[in-house]
Symmetry: none
Subunit: 205 residues, 4 copies
């Protein structure tokens, strides 16, 4: 299985455009789509409101650009993490660590946004669906490799990838919910161990 990077990356990007995207990324992660105001974005990026419209058609276009850039970055990071090892289980470990780090440090945008989507936002749904491979496919690939190598059970890889991402996401909330200073290492270990072995008592089964 070959994972294709997204192809239509914006060909040229000026520093101003990047500044806007950076600011938008932060604001989106903190306040969601509806909570992102073009005024705040102008302030945050240090540019005039009208300048944003010089670079992006409208708020939706800007939003999609942030999403595309973020997804590309996430995809690249995760693929790089997976490529740093050979054994499926090591790849998985590296990917989980990378994923958690991304969520914590840069607050990946997609999750912040999915929840806001009503059923009316068809375009957004389609866009995200068209690119969901960035998030799940690298993980699915690792699972497939592990199954092929006999290390993992023959689970449904697509669903399991989604479940793993869900488990990871839960700990970003966890941090918010518990205000905990739990070291990331412990979260990674817990998640990996649970994902690998489940909660069932081996002696029992």
């Amino acid at each position: 299985m070959v994972i294709m990077p997204p192809s239509e990356i914006e060909p040229t990007s000026t520093p101003s455009k990047e500044a806007i995207l950076d600011a938008a990324q932060t604001l989106l992660a903190n306040h969601g789509y509806a909570g992102l105001s073009m005024r705040d974005l102008a302030t945050e990026s240090g540019l005039a409101k009208a300048t944003i419209y010089h670079h992006f058609q409208d708020k939706n276009d800007l939003f999609l650009s942030v999403l595309a850039r973020d997804m590309t970055m996430v995809h690249a990071q995760i693929v790089a993490a997976a490529d740093s090892s050979t054994a499926a289980i090591d790849k998985l470990s590296a990917v989980v660590r990378t994923y958690i780090d991304l969520m914590r440090e840069r607050r990946t945008v997609i999750m912040s946004v999915l929840r806001e989507m009503g059923q009316d936002e068809q375009i957004l749904c389609e866009f995200i669906q068209s690119r969901r491979h960035c998030y799940f496919d690298p993980i699915a690939a690792i699972l497939e490799q592990g199954i092929a190598e006999g290390e993992f059970r023959p689970v449904n890889v697509e669903k399991s990838a989604i479940s793993l991402v869900g488990m990871i996401n839960a700990f970003v909330l966890f941090r918010v919910l518990t205000n905990s200073d739990e070291p990331v290492e412990a979260l990674i270990d817990h998640t990996l161990e649970l994902f690998l072995y489940g909660i069932n008592n081996r002696e029992t089964s």
Copy 2:
């Protein structure tokens, strides 16, 4: 371990107030906090805007009321589901089913909202933290029971409860992401099986 239901439920509630809360629940689930407009809420609930402010101090108060009511309901449903069985594994199954149903049918509000919280929204964080037991404690209790009865491994129950909720939530996204018509039954089975046994190949380990 005894789970106490939240005690300070609003003592009296008029039909109008409930209508507002119902409408707000729907709108919040579909559009998030920032995307919830008081005008739409008035329209949806069939009352005048000013009437909303007769019953709730402001948008934030309304929001917290929705959250509180929803959490109370979720807690009650989940506890009821757990109480319908005796074996830990059956309880877990019932709870997962209930949880998925709740997420699908009524679109539980809390998840829609957590992502919108910036670091400045101290009050909201505290509120949710003070009531997070509604979501996680019933599950944690089942895990504890299972461990005590030797059926589950001695995992960290709190973290595992969070992970399970994360897995479940992932499938609400999954539906959006894949537009799938996958029967709920399949999702429940997958989630339970993964949570119980992990992906590791028993022969291997």
Copy 3:
């Protein structure tokens, strides 16, 4: 010259009605007519909003009632002060002191209100005009007495009364403007002396 007290005092007054008038008096003095909110008034008076409408037809009626009660009180106080002496100059002194005290302690309402009147508020203008004697006539009467007794120059008593009230009012502002702790005594002395002798140098004239 005989000063007639206003005749149509509200015949009966319940404690609740008085509580409303008291609260309204304070709020009016602090925020003016436009700044007086019925909601605040309800809170301040400890009664429900609807109760206010049980006692007063509307905001305007309430306002006029406050005005009437205040004017009656001011008039009574000033007349009492004037009656405590026999010599015109002593009466004047007592009245100035009383007037300053009233302005400082209870913040007479009328002045707070006059400035808000646009040209459209015909009824209010007429109401105040019809009762302006409460404020100015007692002073004018003293001036007339002083002139008759040869103690004062034959100035225009009506205009001079207005001027004196203006001078007194200026010192309520003065307190605000300068944040001063100047003793009231000094303000009284200054005002009386200036009103009596002016600033002209006798030797020069």
Copy 4:
């Protein structure tokens, strides 16, 4: 004694901004701060509501700008009036005339506003205090000159300036109170004469 004009006048001002300030000046004078509606202001100034917020941060900022501009103008006019003569008494006469004209024609804003200030509006108080010299200092300067030249008695110039302004203001109310068509000339003469000579009978003293 040299009177310094306020220095921090807004450096640049567009016609639109001036139009807003002009309209606000009128509305404030007629309805006070609480009675000034941004909608009316938009209508009156011929601009959109949002345009007002392009030029001013909020209603308070707008209000302070009106105040500042008005005070600067009043100060300039009064200083100009004072400079048109050399003798203290002539300066005083010119200033009183100017002051009355300003109050009548443009309805100086400050007086309309001072009465609305509750004790909570600290910023406004400080702002006005910081600029009160615009109103009183020119008059105080004239009094000082007159005293130095032996024409006026050695009265407290600050208090006397305040008193004079109070006397003048009283006649704006006077017009409202009496609906009089009294010529301005008569008001000026009365005020000047009273301020200069008081009401005391020279023969008596």
